[in-house]
């Protein structure tokens, strides 16, 4: 263990498992969670009774106790939740890695399961949620009376300002969608398997919240995804090559709001993601040049651009050129969302992206680039967020 950087290299992701990704699972969210957890445990070559830790999102409806008793996990010594919607994704893995590194637990499963398409759809917005006097609910008082209700609308406000400051266009956002859909088109697990799009189709798709077209927006998905974290040492004895957690971090910026941090001096960056990135590089001792592929949170395409800037892959305001130059493609500088992202594969609140990063490290992605050693993964943008740097062993 590195004393200065105790987390780096201590833990690894040894198993991944998911349900199918659909628009109507026909099953309970708890059942989706159990299916995903059991699949991940099996993938790791372990038994449910080996698991002693569970981590999920505060947004998840499936409490650890229900998952544990249903799957035969039994006793738990560690259970934890991470808040802020999709910002939690990599944070769950950070919780698990810290638990394993400190001995709080030995086998921790992170999971997320929901019927987000057939059940409660986030895309429909916050206008008519029940009233209460909490600060979280009162925060919506500044937006919903004006009809600013949905994630797409919240992101559109950032996107417009970004375009104004850096000269980016809707086509620059569209290129992100095209890459996602190109990668999804060859991924049998993706909802949009076999259905790539062109930039012209992106431009022709209807407005959702200008400057966002329909094809700038991720899907809504029913499904579950789980990942198994053990110590790096133990992972070496399990069936798959370990995806070593080189770094894991969370970040909440100054004057942070939920997708509406419009009151900062500048709103064209994502400072909480910059904070995550700096920690990832410091913990791992790696830099942007060491990163071979990226799974960047893509609920809406515009916020992929400032992520590339915050994480040091290009200069501020230069992401549009970085993308236009083909650097996100297979064979480019930074192959991106090789599973198809949340636009192309599924919207699993970022957890399917973590699983794809594991496949990239294992060398088993359907869009496997050559020579991948380190993969960066990010969680939800516009919210308090998190990130991971996963690497090959040795």
């Amino acid at each position: 263990m590195n004393v200065a950087r105790p987390l780096s290299g201590a833990a690894a992701i040894a198993g991944i498992g998911a349900t199918e990704f659909s628009k109507n699972s026909g099953r309970s969210e708890l059942r989706l969670a159990c299916e995903a957890v059991l699949a991940a445990v099996a993938d790791a070559g372990l038994k449910p009774s080996d698991v002693d830790g569970l981590v999920t999102f505060t947004a998840d409806t499936n409490s650890e106790i229900h998952v544990a008793r249903s799957t035969g996990i039994g006793e738990l010594t560690f259970f934890s939740r991470v808040g802020y919607g999709g910002g939690a994704a990599c944070g769950t893995l950070q919780q698990a890695a810290m638990a394993v590194a400190t001995g709080a637990a030995e086998v921790v499963v992170c999971y997320r399961a929901f019927n987000e398409r057939s059940g409660e759809r986030y895309g429909l917005g916050q206008a008519e949620r029940p009233m209460d006097t909490s600060a979280d609910r009162a925060a919506y008082a500044w937006m919903t009376p004006y009809g600013l209700n949905t994630p797409a609308q919240w992101v559109a406000m950032f996107a417009r300002r970004y375009m104004h400051e850096y000269g980016a266009t809707s086509e620059d956002f569209g290129r992100v969608a095209v890459v996602d859909r190109r990668h999804a088109a060859v991924n049998p697990a993706a909802w949009f398997y076999g259905r790539p799009i062109t930039l012209e189709e992106h431009q022709a798709s209807r407005w959702i919240a200008e400057p966002l077209h329909l094809l700038d927006c991720c899907q809504e998905t029913d499904g579950g995804q789980a990942l198994v974290v053990v110590s790096a040492e133990r992972a070496r004895d399990l069936p798959h090559p370990p995806a070593v957690v080189r770094a894991a971090a969370q970040g909440s910026g100054a004057d942070q709001h939920m997708m509406t941090s419009y009151y900062r001096p500048s709103i064209s960056g994502i400072p909480e993601m910059g904070l995550v990135g700096r920690q990832l590089y410091r913990q791992s001792g790696l830099g942007p040049d060491d990163v071979d592929a990226a799974i960047l949170y893509d609920h809406f395409t515009p916020l992929v651009l400032p992520q590339l800037e915050e994480l040091g892959f290009c200069g501020t305001g230069e992401a549009k050129d970085f993308i236009a130059d083909g650097h996100l493609e297979l064979g480019g500088r930074l192959p991106f969302n090789t599973h198809g992202g949340q636009l192309g594969e599924a919207y699993l609140h970022g957890m399917n992206g973590v699983a794809e990063a594991v496949r990239l490290v294992r060398g088993t992605s359907v869009n496997q680039p050559d020579d991948v050693r380190n993969v960066i993964v990010t969680a939800g943008t516009g919210v308090p967020t998190s990130g991971l740097l996963l690497g090959a062993d040795g």
Binding site: Y140, P145, Q153, W207, A209, I267
Partner: protein, 331 residues
Amino acid sequence: MSAAYEDRLRAFVGREIHPLRPGQDPVNVPMIRHWVEAMEDDNPIYLDEEAARATGRDGVVAPASMAQAWVMRGYAATAAAKGGGGPADELTDLLAEGGYTSVVATDSEFEFHRELVPGDHVAAREVVESISPEKATALGAGRFITSLRTYHDQDGEIVAVQRWRILRFRPKPKPQKPREPEERPEGTAAERPEERAPRPQPAINRDNAFWFEAARERRLLIQRCAACRTLRHPPGPCCPECGSFEWDTVRASGDAHVYSFVVNHHPRHPAFDYPLIVAVVELAEGTRLITNLVGVTPEEVEIDMPVVLDWVDAGPESSLPVFRPVAQEGQ
């Protein structure tokens, strides 16, 4: 509107449009019982003989407000096709000819002469008292029709008089009722007021109530730290600059510029017209605010465009600050 049309309308003033017609049933206890149960009126004088006599009455009486109920023509007649061709229908047709095809009741004043008791048989007649010139209303241009209904008992004595006013108006063009929300045609608020749902209401708590209370009085406030004088929005209990919990407010000048904006198309909320412009404006005082832009089309909005404060009614008890382009001020 032609003079001839005005004359034809005027000819209805003073005319009996419903001749004296008795109700289908005499005043009776079962109908009274249904009425007071539905109205949750537990005054005992309507159903309890003894209680009624204790008030000096001869026995139970009908609620005064049931006067109209005794002469209603009943479900079958109401549901049946229009017709009869009587003077009331003639007036309706004449108003429709003038484009006044929609109707809304505006007020009803009753004067009761005596209480009705079981066994009374009520009849009513209606005479047009006045027809107003065309007036501009929020619903559209229209005419107020005032008529006098008199309610008589079986002996011809007047038991109640009702002055009844309706607005017959020309509806403003409105979009067709859509099948799918996303297929709704786009229109402006004033064009379909009857479809207007209230805006989503803000969740009020101890930290933000002052702001919404001031907004109700059409004052836009900015919270200010009482110790270091730093302005902050959205408001909160504590100053992030100096940690003070003491605060007061300043009233915003209303001058601002557009910092960013979105044009919402989908999903639609029934309180708003689409495309809907939502903006973050930066006030002259330096704080920013989420708001709507009015008096401007989406194509005309630009970042940095100067805007000025205006207000919209957001419900019976609330007003919200919105902003319009400076150039439109005073228009």
